[in-house]
């Protein structure tokens, strides 16, 4: 293999490029990114960066003296993949051809059909999104967050600390019940009320209202209630960026369908990060894992498979892991809550928001949640990895 094209220049793309060089690949390496920025770290965008505690230099993912010997095509959006020629067409008309292709195009923030794109209404995914939201939060006033998931909760926490009056609206009866289960979703989302942030659950959003200048003035709920707002954040999840692959013949489900090593249905093409749904042998199904650590760790296996053309014999990926920081509480989760039949508090107390809870299925640990319990959390995370490997 003499040339590899990495489509996507965020954490997964950068990790793939690093893994290629780490495996001794010395051929041509091209990275294409639709944003104009070098790879940057997204988790702080809803936390330290949004709070103004970290500047853009702190987001840089490359080391100061790092040189991957790569060609960077930034501000260039991929629009088509030709599997025969193994070439990728860019929005500006250029075409890049390579022996191997790594798809790492990530995911994009979902929007609400009812919440028209108007001034003061934000999603949060990119650095440019965060810059715009940060500027609006600096105006103070009332913030309505639509969606009680992790992004919404972190934005609410940050905005609350900045002094805004915050309301979180969640369509489900309990926020975070998907990733954490009903009981622990309830415990974690109690952090809002603990800090005087209003949480409205079980209600959808009909739309937004604008003031005379076209700026958002209120959020209107499905039940007719009207929440005055100076700024609105829509945090209702992300969808994989796979539209550009239509017509390539690559198999797509919820993301690019991959084997347990990142190989797609097309030879010489692997997929990593938020856009990829790897086969999970333990679950017997494909799962798209939208976690930072997956984007960091999995490209090594995908690149090994790409270079060898066969399974890399890598260790199975560790159980999915993510963290969240809300209201000064460090929340950590590893494994999968879905499928657990019991959740047991092993340490601390839910009321104290200081808890270690273990999820089990048929008595076997399948997931662990920690709130301000990093040491015991790590022990349980290691145990989970031992159980699943």
């Amino acid at each position: 293999m003499r040339s590899v094209l990495v489509v996507g220049a965020s954490l997964a793309g950068l990790s793939a490029a690093r893994a290629l060089r780490a495996r001794g690949y010395d051929g041509r390496l091209v990275l294409v990114g639709d944003e104009p920025h070098r790879p940057y770290d997204r988790p702080p965008l809803s936390k330290e960066f949004l709070a103004g505690q970290a500047d853009e230099a702190a987001l840089v993912l490359e080391a100061e003296d790092e040189d991957l010997g790569a060609e960077w095509l930034l501000g260039a959006r991929a629009v088509a993949l030709d599997p025969g020629a193994r070439s990728v067409g860019l929005a500006d008309g250029r075409t890049v051809t390579a022996d191997g292709v790594v798809i790492a195009t990530g995911a994009a923030a979902r929007t609400l059909p009812g919440a028209a794109a108007r001034s003061g209404v934000h999603t949060l995914r990119t650095l440019d999104d965060a810059r715009a939201l940060r500027a609006d939060l600096a105006r103070g006033g009332r913030l309505v967050v639509i969606g009680g998931g992790f992004i919404g909760a972190e934005v609410a926490s940050t905005a609350h600390a900045l002094g805004l009056e915050v309301t979180v609206v969640e369509a489900a009866p309990t926020p975070l019940s998907g990733p954490l289960g009903e009981a622990m979703g309830g415990v974690v989302s109690s952090l809002h009320r603990d800090h005087g942030v209003r949480l409205l659950c079980g209600t959808g959003v009909r739309g937004t209202e604008a003031d005379g200048e076209g700026r958002v003035a209120a959020v209107v709920l499905a039940d007719g209630r009207r929440l005055p707002a100076d700024t609105v954040v829509v945090g209702v999840g992300a969808r994989p960026c796979t539209d550009w692959l239509a017509g390539s013949g690559i198999e797509i489900g919820d993301g690019v369908l991959c084997g347990a090593d990142g190989r797609t249905s097309l030879p010489g093409v692997v997929a990593v990060g938020d856009c990829a749904a790897w086969y999970d042998p333990a679950a017997g199904a494909h799962h798209r894992v939208e976690h930072w650590t997956g984007a960091l760790e999995r490209p090594a296996a995908a690149v090994a498979a790409l270079l060898s053309g066969s399974p890399g014999g890598q260790r199975a990926p560790r159980p999915p892991y993510f963290w969240s920081d809300q209201y000064g509480v460090r929340i950590q989760f590893a494994g999968r809550a879905a499928g657990a039949d019991t959740v047991t508090v092993e340490e601390g107390a839910p009321q104290g928001r200081d808890v270690l809870a273990v999820y089990r299925r048929g008595g076997v640990p399948v997931a662990v949640l920690g709130m301000n319990r990093p040491r015991s959390f790590t022990r349980w995370r290691k145990r989970l990895a031992a159980v699943t490997s």
């Binding site: 690093r18 770290d41 930072w292 960091l296």
Partner: protein, 119 residues
């Protein structure tokens, strides 16, 4: 030299956090080696003694940066700077560390906190 704890009280695979300023983490690897590094991750205020110890590396308990206990080098983001390493000496069954004279690579939040500022 600063006494840490008895060697017999630090089983293999475990770590001890020494409450110096800044704190130091002493690791006893599964292979029986002893290492000491600065306890605070250079990315964010997290205790590496709480991290995932495997071989001669410890992974930050919060994010995924791994530090080489022998050199202090970091393998991957989000941390970008190494931690200091310190000399470990065992005398009469007691672990001691001799602190490095170089400047620590603390994250900005922890550095501010240690300097008396807000975290």
């Amino acid at each position: 030299m600063i006494p840490v704890c008895r060697l017999a009280d630090l089983p293999r695979g475990e770590a001890f956090r020494l409450e110096t300023d800044p704190p130091v983490a002493v690791f006893h690897t599964e292979e029986g080696e002893l290492y000491a590094i600065d306890d605070t991750c250079t990315h964010q205020d997290a205790s590496l003694a709480d991290g995932w110890l495997e071989g001669c590396e410890v992974e930050c308990p919060l994010h995924a940066s791994k530090f080489d206990l022998r050199t202090g080098a970091v393998d991957a983001p989000p941390a970008r700077r190494p931690v200091r390493t310190h000399e470990v000496v065992v005398e009469d069954g007691v672990i001691h560390v001799r602190l490095s004279p170089s400047a620590p690579g603390l994250p900005s939040c922890a550095a501010g906190r240690l300097a008396g500022g807000a975290g």
